[in-house]
Amino acid sequence: MKKLFSSSITGPLLALLLVFLCVALTTDRFLSPGNLSNLILQVSIVSIVAIGATFVILIGGIDLSPGSAIALLTVLFASSIKFVGVPLPVAILLVVAMGALLGLLNGVLVAYLRIPAFIATLAALSAFRGVAFGFNNGSPVFSIHPDLESIFYGTFLGAPLPLYYVIFLYGLSFMVLRYTAFGRSIYAVGGNPRAAELSGLNVKKIQMYCFVIAGIAAALGAVLMAARLNSGSPNYGVGLELAAIAAAVVGGASLTGGRGNIINTALGAMTIVIVQNGLNLNTVPTSAQNVIVGAIIVIAVAIDIWRDDITSKIKGRFQSTKNVSKKNHH
């Protein structure tokens, strides 16, 4: 059990430190208080969406839709408050429910209708944003609610509120994955769906729930995104799915499913955002940034695939000199 969760925090942590050092050394403004608090705000949205990405990756799936889902959900959120007059707290609940519904749609397509996750969520990536453009003639909705920005920019005990959201949600996810039967089942389904079925787990339902969780995570991301800009727009969230997947993968989640640690996803999200932030501060154009995020995903996946070889080589060197007399038990 330890292995499942402690699946080496060192790698992701080293990656984060390395990136942090590189950016800090090459960029003057990086360590300025303004930039650092901006960084926390930026990380908050990516890391919350990445929780969803991790749950889906753990069952061996992939979710390409959260960026588009966020666009649709910000538009719905903004419209419901501004045009329908729904009170803010109710609107938040509605958006979360709507996000769960979008996730449910993906989940049903993947788990019950057996559409490959890549295809189903690729279709959703296209469709959700399409629907988002159908509202308000495709125009953004501005100035949603006077109290909304405080959700994002407010502070508590000197720290920005989003930091608390992130800590709470990661804590909750960690507990679910480690200490509940449902969490354990997620790892089982990701590790070997056929064996999971023969062990009496409801594989389809578990897969579907993970997509629902991803939808809820996207909805929470959407609320923060809308609060940050006090607006909703069908253009929001472009490329966010990739950042979220990158966060999970850089955090060591295996794309084949069954292996990954939610806390490492948070480290991965920080790594990705710091890279993006460093590139922004050095005025690297967006096009090049996209290429770099792509490269990071490839490198992280390569490390995941080569990991076993690398560690066995290192350990082999180390132990062959030390431990020759120990025999295999069977």
Binding site: T180, A181, F182, A188, A195, S312, N323, K327, H329, H330
Partner: protein, 503 residues
């Protein structure tokens, strides 16, 4: 590629290979002569696979030499091993199911004319290769459509097409039926006549003693008995491999009168036709028959994997209907599947998590897991079933086949299963672990559990079952006590089936 099997003598000298925490091969020396079938035996974890992987270029030895006709060769990759004339036929085949037989045989060296594939030549060459081992398979047939046995022969034809001087067969019969095994043995004997050096690995000792010329036995990474020392005799081999074992089949009779499982005329759309039988409390009910006769399909129907189209299942007199394995597990059924790798084990889990997975409710309250309790309860099972204590903290991929199998059995004990379906429970595990599984079956039945035993090892089936249902074409054609049955009858049942198929 070009080294034809012109009588090369292969020698391994002092091969040593160390992995983290274990010396897999320790000073292993072996001589493989042309025209000789050399059996390589030993329990799981004895270092056989490591040695084979060294020979086919997957591992490089830490010390030691590999010599061909006295000249040292270096096998740095599977590709270089192939070029040096070593061909390996693995238990899991490496044929491409979507290609034709001829394409598979010449994969990588397809004959070409003007840069394009010369199909005519390829088919006629393939025919020649197949003729060499007297096999009648259409070179144009798609491999995926062939029987498992024929696929295995295609795999061997690949080795012949490479003109290998050393052919390694690693558990080649694990997936084969009796007829196919006989055919394979004939082919291997043909290869021997053509002067190839052959290494033969199998857990089925009866097969080994029938086929090989000499035997080397490994234990704990070392050669314990070399080709000169080993007698080709099952009981002496078993003694050398595992030490004194007492009885090979320690059968106990624990059958009680109560009927726990009643199967009435069940059918599925997946190959089960009108099957009826009863299983008593404490009984071992065997299901015998050839590969593909429908034994596994019957098991899957009982376990709710495949839905019934008609018929009725009663457990302890109560009618039940399973729409998925969950329902079956709720009614105290357990299923130890044939293929533990694909259907049984979670390689991302340790032994503990692998054991608890079928009954997480047992260690949770309101769905919250009690990890402490989980560890303690399963530790008890690990001790009881004599599973290695390493299984507590290690991923199951690092455990031996026997320990892996016991973990799956432990899973069902943990889930309080009362009717256990064992599908080929001893396939691919060593003699010591086999006996441990038999003893477990005894313990289960003496505790009042019932066992449905599916096995292609007819000696095992006859020795361990209280009654045997003979399966043919997806239905139970006869139910007999084992003392009215011997190997020959089971073989005959399979031959009858062959005739029927032709008719």
């Amino acid at each position: 590629m070009s080294n034809s099997y012109n009588s090369s003598v292969w020698k391994l000298e002092g091969i040593t290979k160390v992995f983290p925490g274990v010396v897999a091969n320790n000073e292993v020396s072996l001589t493989l002569k042309p025209g000789e079938i050399h059996g390589l035996l030993g329990e799981n974890g004895c270092g056989k696979s490591t040695l084979i992987k060294t020979l086919c270029g997957v591992h490089q030895p830490d010390h030691g030499k590999i010599l061909r006709d006295g000249k040292e060769v270096s096998l740095t990759s599977p590709f270089s091993a192939r070029n040096e004339g070593i061909a390996t036929v693995f238990q899991e085949f490496s044929v491409v199911p979507t290609l034709s037989v001829a394409e598979n045989i010449f994969l990588g060296v397809l004959p070409k004319k003007n840069g394009f594939i010369d199909w005519t030549k390829m088919y006629s060459d393939a025919k020649k290769v197949l003729a060499k081992i007297n096999v009648r398979i259409d070179p144009e047939a798609i491999v995926g459509n062939l029987s498992v046995g024929d696929q295995q022969l295609v795999e061997i034809s690949k080795a012949i097409a490479q003109n290998a001087s050393l052919i390694i067969l690693d558990e080649p019969t694990a997936a084969l039926g009796l007829k196919e095994i006989q055919q394979l043995h004939r082919v291997i004997k043909d290869l021997k006549k053509q002067n190839a050096a052959i290494v033969y690995i199998s857990h089925r000792l009866d097969e080994v003693v029938e086929l090989v010329d000499c035997i080397t036995i490994l234990k704990d990474g070392c050669v314990t008995s070399d080709a000169q020392m080993t007698d080709i005799d099952i009981s002496s081999i078993v003694n050398t491999m595992v030490g004194k074992v007492g009885e090979h089949y320690p059968k106990e009779n624990n059958t009680q009168d109560e009927v726990v499982l009643e199967v009435r005329n069940i059918s599925t759309s997946h190959g089960v036709k009108d099957v009826s039988f009863e299983v008593l409390k404490g009984e071992v009910f065997g299901l015998g028959g050839v590969l593909g006769s429908g034994r596994t399909e019957i098991a899957e129907a009982l376990f709710g994997v495949k839905k019934l189209t008609s018929g009725l299942i009663k457990i302890k007199g109560k009618s039940v209907s399973f729409s998925n394995p969950q329902d079956a597990i709720k009614n105290n059924l357990g299923y130890v599947p044939e293929n533990r790798k694909f259907d049984g084990l979670f390689f991302n889990f340790t032994g503990i998590e692998n054991t608890s997975v079928a009954d997480l409710k047992n260690v949770s309250k309101w769905s919250i897991l009690d990890l402490q309790k989980e560890r303690e309860e399963i530790r008890k099972l690990i001790t009881k079933l004599k599973i290695t204590p390493e299984s507590e903290s290690r991923f199951v991929s690092l455990l031996s086949g026997g320990n892996q199998q016991k973990i799956i059995i432990a899973r069902w004990l943990f889930a309080d299963a009362e009717i256990l379906i064992f599908d080929e429970p001893t396939q691919g595990i060593d003699v010591g672990s086999k006996i441990a599984v038999y003893k477990l079956i005894n313990e289960l039945t003496s505790a009042g559990c019932s066992v449905i035993l599916i096995s292609s090892d007819h000696d095992e089936l006859i020795a361990m079952s209280d009654r045997i249902g003979i399966v043919s074409h997806g239905t139970v054609v006869d139910i007999l006590p084992p003392n009215q049955l011997d190997r020959v009858d089971l073989v005959k049942a399979s031959t009858d089936e062959k005739k029927e198929r032709i008719a």
